[in-house]
C-alpha cells in the first residue's frame, strides 16, 4: 500500500518544461513578472537579433575599406554605426581571418557570445564538448565540424572570459569580386563569424 507521500518520493522529477511553467506561474501570480514582457524578449531574439546582423557588418567591411579599418580598430563603435548594440555587446573585438591565420571563438566557463551581432548561441557552441575541447585540440575539433585547415595555417583560439566579446571577420571568398554588399550578406554564415567554418562562394 502506498501513500501520496511515498508516491511523491518515487515520482520522477518534473521536466524542465513543467518546472518552467511552474516558475512562470509563481512569479506571475505575485506580479513579479509580466508574461507580455517575456513575450517581447523571446520575439526579439527569435526575429530581430541574430547572425544576419553580423553578416551585414562583414559584408560592409568587405566592400568599404574605411569601414573595415574602423571595425578592426574599434569594433563596438563600428558595429553600432549599423545600429547593432545591446546586452552581451559592451565591448566587441573583431579579428580578421586570413589564408595563414585562423581565429576561432569559445567561452569555456559559460557560453558568452556577442548577442547584438550573432543572436543567441547555437547548440554546438553551448555543448560541453566544444567548450572543453576547442581550447585543447582546436584543429581536431574544427575538422570534426567540417573545417580542415592546412598545417601551415596558424590557429588562435579566443576564450571569452570577461565581458569582451569576439567576432571573426572571415576571408572574402574568391569568385565574389563582382558581388555587391547586399549580394554578399546571404553568403555569410553564423559559423564563419565564430570561426568554425569559412564563407563559401556561390556555386
Amino acid at each position: 500500500m502506498t501513500t501520496s507521500g511515498s508516491d511523491v518520493e518515487t515520482a520522477p522529477r518534473p521536466s524542465p518544461s513543467l518546472r518552467t511553467e511552474a516558475l512562470e506561474q509563481l512569479l506571475t501570480e505575485r506580479g513579479l513578472v509580466d508574461p507580455s514582457v517575456m513575450d517581447k524578449f523571446i520575439a526579439n531574439y527569435e526575429t530581430n537579433v541574430g547572425p544576419l546582423n553580423g553578416a551585414k557588418v562583414v559584408a560592409k567591411a568587405w566592400t568599404d575599406p574605411e569601414y573595415r579599418k574602423r571595425l578592426l580598430d574599434e569594433g563596438t563603435s563600428a558595429i553600432k554605426e549599423l545600429g547593432f548594440a545591446g546586452p552581451q555587446g559592451e565591448h566587441i573585438v573583431v579579428v580578421e581571418n586570413t589564408p595563414t591565420l585562423h581565429n576561432v571563438t569559445v567561452c569555456t566557463l559559460c557560453s558568452c557570445y556577442p548577442w547584438p551581432v550573432l543572436g543567441l548561441p547555437p547548440s554546438w557552441y553551448k555543448d560541453p564538448a566544444y567548450r572543453a575541447r576547442v581550447v585543447r585540440e582546436p584543429r581536431a575539433v574544427l575538422a570534426e565540424m567540417g573545417l580542415d585547415l592546412a598545417d601551415d595555417v596558424e590557429i588562435v583560439v579566443r576564450d571569452s572570459s570577461s565581458e569582451v566579446r569576439w567576432l571573426v571577420l572571415p576571408e572574402r571568398p574568391a569568385g565574389t569580386e563582382d558581388l555587391t554588399e547586399e549580394e554578399l550578406v546571404p553568403l555569410i554564415t553564423r559559423d564563419a563569424l565564430v570561426g568554425v567554418a569559412k564563407v563559401q562562394a556561390p556555386a
Binding site: S4, T20, H91
Partner: protein, 222 residues
C-alpha cells in the same frame, strides 16, 4: 571555484556536434520562457546581477547543470537566485510543477524576501580605473595558481601558466567580488596569449590561445 562550469580542457565529452544550418533559436517553447524568466530574475526579481547568475550556474550539481540542457541549466540557476534572495522557498518550483501534473502535494510558504543590499554604480560591467595598468603589451605574465572558494573568471586550465599580454582591454568591475555583492572593485583586464605547449605540453597541437584575465589574477612571470 572549481565547479562544473569550468570545462576548458576537460576530457570525456566525446565528439563535438556538427553545426546544423537552420537550428531554431529555441528548440522548444519552454526554452524561450526559461530564457526570459532568467533575464527578468537576474536583476529585477531577485535583486542580483549577471555575475551572481554565473555563480549560480557554477554552483549547480552535475545533473542540474547537464541533464536539462542549456536553458534547463538557466532555469535551475534562476531558481537558485530566487531561493538565495528568499523570493521563493526551496522546493516551491518542484511542488508547483507536481501540482500542475496532478500530484496532491502541498506548497511551501512564501518566505520574507531577503534581496542583497546592492545597487550597481553604472549600467553594464565596464568601469574606469584611475591607476595605470600594472602590465604593458608584450609583458610576460603568469596566471596565479590559486583556487578561490567563490566566483572567479580564472579557469583552471591557465592557472600557473605564463603568457604574453596581447591587448589591454577596457577595465571591468571584478566578477569575483561583484557576484557576492562585495563591491565592484574595477580592474584592468588583459587579453593574455598562451602558447598551446605551455598549457598542454610538448605533444599538444600547435596553436595560440588568448583569454581575458583580470589584473589581480596575474603576477609577473618569474
Amino acid at each position: 571555484m572549481d565547479g562544473i562550469a569550468d570545462l576548458g580542457g576537460e576530457d570525456g565529452w566525446g565528439p563535438v556536434s556538427r553545426p546544423a544550418p537552420d537550428e531554431p533559436v529555441f528548440a522548444e517553447s519552454w526554452e524561450g520562457r526559461a530564457f526570459a524568466l532568467t533575464l527578468l530574475t537576474m536583476g529585477r526579481v531577485s535583486g542580483r546581477n549577471l555575475d551572481a547568475f554565473r555563480h549560480a550556474l557554477e554552483r549547480l550539481d552535475r545533473p542540474a547543470y547537464l541533464d536539462d540542457g542549456y536553458y534547463g541549466r538557466w532555469l535551475n540557476a534562476a531558481e537558485l537566485m530566487l531561493t538565495d534572495s528568499a523570493i521563493l522557498a526551496p522546493g516551491a518550483v518542484d511542488a508547483r510543477a507536481r501540482r500542475l501534473r496532478g500530484e496532491d502535494v502541498s506548497e511551501p510558504e512564501t518566505p520574507e524576501p531577503a534581496k542583497p543590499d546592492y545597487s550597481p554604480t553604472a549600467a553594464g560591467s565596464l568601469r574606469t580605473v584611475e591607476e595605470a595598468p600594472a602590465f604593458a603589451v608584450g609583458d610576460v605574465v603568469r596566471a596565479k595558481d590559486v583556487s578561490p572558494a567563490g566566483h572567479t573568471k580564472l579557469p583552471r586550465y591557465v592557472r600557473g601558466h605564463s603568457g604574453v599580454v596581447e591587448i589591454i582591454q577596457p577595465a571591468h568591475l571584478l566578477p569575483d567580488t561583484h557576484a557576492h555583492f562585495l563591491g565592484e572593485n574595477p580592474q584592468h583586464v588583459y587579453s593574455v596569449r598562451f602558447d598551446s605547449h605551455e598549457l598542454w605540453g610538448a605533444d599538444a597541437e600547435t596553436f595560440g590561445l588568448t583569454i581575458e584575465l583580470f589584473e589581480s589574477y596575474l603576477e609577473p612571470a618569474p
